[in-house]
């Protein structure tokens, strides 16, 4: 059994994830990873994601999402 990240989150985090589930039916993996042990890794990785996905100058948000989805697809990784 894989690490059950959701069980180890704070009540506030779990409530936020419940909203995500309501909105899109599941919690995206990257969201779970940045929520878990934020001071060890999550906060730092959230900054990387923010820069990579939102701070691009040459590509718009839709194009970046498309690149990420395509990369995940060829890596056999659900995005």
């Amino acid at each position: 059994m894989r690490i059950q990240i959701e069980r180890r989150l704070s009540p506030v985090q779990r409530a936020l994830l419940a909203v995500w589930k309501l909105l899109i039916g599941r919690v995206p993996g990257p969201m779970l990873v940045v929520s878990y042990r934020k001071r060890y890794f999550g906060n730092y990785w959230a900054s990387c994601m923010q820069e990579g996905m939102r701070a691009a100058r040459y590509w718009n948000r839709g194009e970046i999402e498309l690149f990420a989805a395509f990369t995940s697809k060829v890596n056999s990784c659900t995005y």
Binding site: I3, R37, Y40, C48, N75
Partner: protein, 144 residues
């Protein structure tokens, strides 16, 4: 041949070509207080980087090798039973999480730097070809 962007991929002290946020994430993963000791985390990071580049890989604790190497090379093939095997060997979920993060960062940063180096080489090759064409055109113009 173009020099690699990082002189020593897999060495977090020599990762200046990586974006600052990524450098910060790597340093945090390798040095912030955690359940795995810093030496083991550094070994995991370096081994994943070496494997990703096809270089000789340094040793890590035996019980971590199968899972760590699989995450480094074929992360999408990891199985629940491999996580269970680590638990059976006495590893906690926190250790497994840290191990996964260190390996993923090592493999990802090495491939990113290798990609940048390949891009540099391709651009340098294109520039060389362009310079050659320009020289030929200049010589033709003088001939005319």
């Amino acid at each position: 041949m173009t020099e690699p962007r990082s002189g020593r991929p897999g060495h977090p002290d020599d990762d200046g070509a990586l974006p600052q946020h990524v450098q910060d994430a790597i340093r945090a993963a390798l040095t912030r207080p955690a359940t795995l000791d810093e030496d083991t985390r550094a070994q995991l990071y370096a081994r994943a980087a070496a494997l990703s580049l096809g270089d000789p890989a340094s040793d890590i604790p035996d019980d971590l090798t199968v899972y760590a190497d699989k995450v480094a090379l074929w992360a999408y093939k990891t199985l629940d039973r491999e996580i269970d095997a680590l638990r059976d060997a006495g590893r906690t979920d926190d250790e497994i999480f840290e191990l996964t993060i260190c390996v993923a960062l090592g493999a990802g940063s090495a491939r990113f730097l290798a990609g940048l180096t390949a891009l540099d080489e391709a651009l340098a090759e294109r520039d060389t070809e362009r310079d050659g064409l320009t020289d030929t055109e200049t010589a033709d113009a003088h001939t005319d």
